[in-house]
Symmetry: C2
Subunit: 258 residues, 2 copies
DNA sequence: CGGTATCTTGACTGTTGTCAAGCCCCGTGG
DNA sequence: CCACGGGGCTTGACAACAGTCAAGATACCG
């Protein structure tokens, strides 16, 4: 419920010379090191410049700040630059259900496209920054740049695949399997960003994880306890160290590499 | 595993004079009475003609026939004209997990866009027919017809919203709620097609429903028993009659209309 | 340094899964 | 037309995993 953007303050604290996407909020798509994960994949240099013209860059948020609210008018999609975000639906009785976890290079807000209203709220789990891409401008540009249209079709397709994977995960009822799969998901997404796949910090609380996976926070806690006892992961509060990756994959019923 | 198409046979049985989409397999998009539900929404007459040029119409399938297989190369998306279809994922150990139920006017196959391979298999639950839309042609045409691009963005957005609704449904762990929500979903989709929202036939077996909802078939059966005992629905095998719609919505925790 | 949010652990309960038996419906073939 | 067979469905008994409630410990923020 804090509408205040801290973009200005954040920008002052970070010297412009730092040409790294996740620390410098005012960098362009062409210079952003997340480019190869984010929207610009499949675009050439000239096309990226045109994309840059419609992307509002470098806004920052701190923990608890909203990116958008459920049922609010859909105007833009958001590319995560730094930090982590969750999306959640609030039902009439006030219950919150976490529907997504988003890390740098990923795109949020696509659940608003069909109905012109966001289907969920998005909130920062820690200090972070993002780029805003007004959807109507993206649509216009997509008709002019076929490779951008193709990229965005594929991006939406990815979201569909991701959601269906979550669905099958949550339908298959083993709590251990769900938690293991979440750890592996974070691990592989970290790996893509050249971060350690075996040592990371959970961006969500036990309650959020539980809500996301369809179990209670107590169960999440107990599963972490079990996995630790089996020497598969080391859990120190939010700090996770994967000790036995094959065993973790076995529990998650993931057989192939990642 | 039956690759045989019965299009030819089917076409013979139905007189061409019947200008109704779901019975005449060789009707065009412009004439199809599902047009207002399907891909052509938001297109004008001239644009629909161009869409018609890329749509392969009127193929028919009988129960158990595959529309496409998991991991097979993604070539096209499919618009359902008649009948009902399910999508499912097969995991390495042979377990099948139902991931979707598709009724006339709905589009299947979008889970193949991002990776160029279908993420699930699609099979006919009864005799039915469909239109095939080669994706690369749709992409080409979309760059030329902005309203088609917009329509397809929205269609994919709808799929994302639908999947996320399933996710929240399956996460919230009441079996009664899940079954009630499925009944309501079928009911409202029937309503859109001008069919009875209170009296319909379940296209899936108990086992399929259970797999889709993340419960066992026995639980599905018991829930139907409970709902019947409460005089909320009348269940006669696959035949469903909704007697107390408000009560059903209450169980499904749907408060609003639809 | 104090207060609150988060996390862990325990005991008990309950819904759902599992296993098993039997029924019903429907299509097939005699 | 009827007998047969098999898939689909129902129902019951029991067990187990996870939910609920509660208390206490720990971490984090101002």
């Amino acid at each position: 419920m804090k509408p205040t953007s801290k973009a200005a303050i954040f920008a002052k604290e970070i010297p412009y010379a730092v040409r790294s996407c996740h620390t410098n909020p005012s960098i362009s798509c062409g210079e952003c090191r997340l480019g190869e994960l984010c929207l610009p994949i499949a675009l050439d240099a000239k096309e990226i410049l045109r994309l840059d013209e419609i992307v509002k860059q470098g806004r920052a948020l701190s923990k608890g700040d909203y990116l958008y609210h459920q049922d609010e008018e859909f105007k833009a999609i958001y590319a995560i630059r730094a930090g982590s975000f969750k999306t959640f639906k609030t039902s009439r009785d006030g219950t919150e259900q976490v529907t997504g976890l988003y890390l740098p290079g990923e795109i949020m807000g696509m659940d608003g496209i069909s109905s012109n209203r966001y289907g969920s709220s998005a909130i920062a789990l820690e200090t972070g920054s993002f780029c805003e891409i007004p959807f109507h401008l993206l649509e216009d540009l997509s008709t002019k740049i076929p490779s951008l249209q193709g990229r965005f079709f594929r991006l939406m397709g990815q979201e569909i695949v991701k959601d269906q994977q979550m669905l099958t995960l949550v339908s298959s009822n083993a709590a251990d399997e769900r938690v293991a799969a979440l750890l592996l998901s974070i691990s592989s997404r970290n790996h893509r960003r050249k971060l350690s796949p075996t040592h990371f910090r959970l961006p969500m609380t036990r309650a959020d994880i539980g809500s996301y996976l369809g179990v209670t926070l107590e169960t999440v806690s107990r599963v972490f306890g079990r996995l630790q006892k089996l020497a598969i992961v080391k859990v120190d509060n939010r700090e996770i160290e994967v000790i036995d990756m094959p065993a973790l994959k076995k529990i998650a019923k993931v057989h192939d590499g990642d």
